[in-house]
Point group: C2
Chain length 343, copies 2
């Protein structure tokens, strides 16, 4: 790639003149400026943003700390992030941060060394522990947390109304006459914890007993264990007539378990998902679920981060911590129906 020095040599002018001409600054004759710009274009000159970053003390680069790349929901958030960063002329450096932790590397070293202006953070699958949190605290620029929070989280958070969404799904089952309702959740994450709370809230509001043996965890993505656990619940002599699940993949595994035991969904068992992922509609029965908006979560998180970065560079006081939870909405499809034993 051609450098400013090369251009100066070709045009027979000083480096300073080339720098002024390309930067659009005064002090260069019109003919010289044109000649310099023509040579730069012919040789496909590209400004060096590394130099600009050092000069300006702002890298215009955002760090995105991800944990999984094959998850549709996280991918939706990333899409929203990239749309917003692109519009605002920021670039993005991505790290695979659970992997860094496994390898004993300080999670944010590379982002700090590249001088990113801020971080958009997808928390690890489980709650972050001491070394994560210490690393985060040592990072000098703004951090925004997406989707999953943790107890005592000291950062701005953008996510979904998980409690409310779970409440809607559970009340939908209750309205259909279900009283024996199980919950197949994911309580070691904050979204799982909140969806569990929404489930409990709905059950308590309607005075319906929660059976401990019917409240279980589906473990990690891709949630293959959910099949086994759903099957265990459904093989008991006394089984629930409905299962409210953590997300659409867990719902799908639950429906598979029901199918393999000869139970018809929704006639013998109603199932709800969460997320409204792209699998919710092509499967039969289509999954009744709670719609989230991952792209909007990504957009808002990126916007908020940019605001924080700009407030910081203008030495404005640090804005008050926010928790922004986007509304969720029930989408009734084919996997839920009136309770047979109630009719």
């Amino acid at each position: 790639m051609i450098s400013l020095n090369n251009i100066a040599e070709i045009c027979g002018v000083s480096l300073g003149t080339v720098s002024k001409a390309i930067g659009g600054k005064p002090g260069v004759g019109e003919a010289t400026r044109r000649r310099i710009l023509t040579v730069a274009q012919q040789h496909n000159y590209r400004p060096n943003r590394l130099v600009h970053s050092i000069q300006r003390g702002r890298s215009m680069m955002i760090g995105v700390a991800c944990n999984r790349f094959d998850d549709e929901f996280a991918g939706g958030m990333v899409t929203g992030i990239f749309e917003t960063l692109f519009e605002a002329n920021y670039d993005a450096m991505v790290i695979y941060w659970d992997r860094s932790v496994q390898k004993g590397v300080h999670v944010l070293n590379s982002l700090a060394e590249r001088r990113v202006d801020g971080i958009l953070m997808f928390p690890p699958a489980s709650y972050p522990e001491g070394s994560y949190l210490d690393d985060l605290r040592s990072f000098p620029n703004p951090i925004i947390v997406l989707d999953q929070a943790w107890p005592g989280c000291e950062y701005d958070f953008i996510g979904s109304q998980d409690i409310e969404g779970a409440l809607l799904a559970t009340e939908h089952l209750i309205e259909l006459g279900h009283r024996s309702i199980a919950h197949l959740g994911c309580r070691h994450t904050s979204t799982g914890e909140d969806r569990m709370k929404g489930f409990q809230k709905a059950m308590m509001r309607h005075g319906i007993a929660i059976h401990e043996k019917w409240v279980r965890d589906a473990w990690e993505p891709p949630f293959e264990d959910a099949y086994k656990i759903a099957r265990e619940i459904l093989e008991q002599p006394e089984r629930p007539s409905a299962i409210m699940t953590f997300n659409d993949m867990v719902a799908l595994q639950t429906m598979a378990a029901a199918h393999d035991l000869g139970l018809r969904v929704p006639t013998d068992l109603s199932v709800t998902g969460f997320g409204d992922l792209s699998i919710a509609t092509p499967v039969r029965p289509q999954i009744t679920t709670v719609k989230q908006d991952p792209e909007e979560i990504g957009r808002r998180a990126a916007q908020r981060l940019i605001e924080r970065i700009e407030a910081k560079s203008e030495d404005q006081p640090r804005p008050k911590l926010i928790q922004d939870r986007l509304p969720t909405r029930l989408v009734v499809r084919q996997s839920t129906a009136p309770c047979q034993s109630a009719q």
Copy 2:
């Protein structure tokens, strides 16, 4: 964040001394070195990799040009890429390059301006056109293309044995006695084109007629149109007994169309997918499909790119262009069965 200048001030030494101490270079007394390192650690000093990048003429940063982030297959490749880059101590800058093109921005500007050492490129959904290709040609460092190639592609390519995989799926249907076989493909992509070739090859090898009306395209992800097209094919008075599809999402839409028309899969219709995505096993019937290895594609692409970058910096001759296609494998599940009319 503390700078080398700040450390020099605190320790009452010169900037040069601090730089030597931190860089592990000689010329600093042991006590002074220890004091400098202690101060650096206490104040959480982080080296500035932007400065190193400029000094070394290598950014140790790779550009990853993506088009979709919510696609499980692409996500698998990204996972493999990040594993490999992490091991080799490279960082990754990600761009959303179809979006850049829509906005009329030169697709690779930001990667060139950040001086990335090379690019891992996920081609756009359709074949790249003139301005894409011109932009790529103006990029001075190595480029590796993943998954989707295009006619006349001038870069190293890492992907799957798509033709062979499609041949396996089609021959599996033929062995089950099917003769009326449709193909629901995606011919505006290279993988779609190759899977179509594999289908044709198998049909020709066994002397089976291909019906033009049964060879259709499923359009773009998430392939909702596939449902409509599968339905059109299955509503005809004369319908196929099997459909070989472009990927697992198209297979799922095809199974939904069959279900809604009262056709049982696999009794009345056999369906094959491609990819072995995480939806292939929790759905009922489980999808017979062709297994690919997206993570290994990502790992090999990143390894190849690093080799090319290092060969370049050592002024070795440019290595011969490669096309590395990873094997695919048939996985027989529940969505295919012997042809009823053949029995």
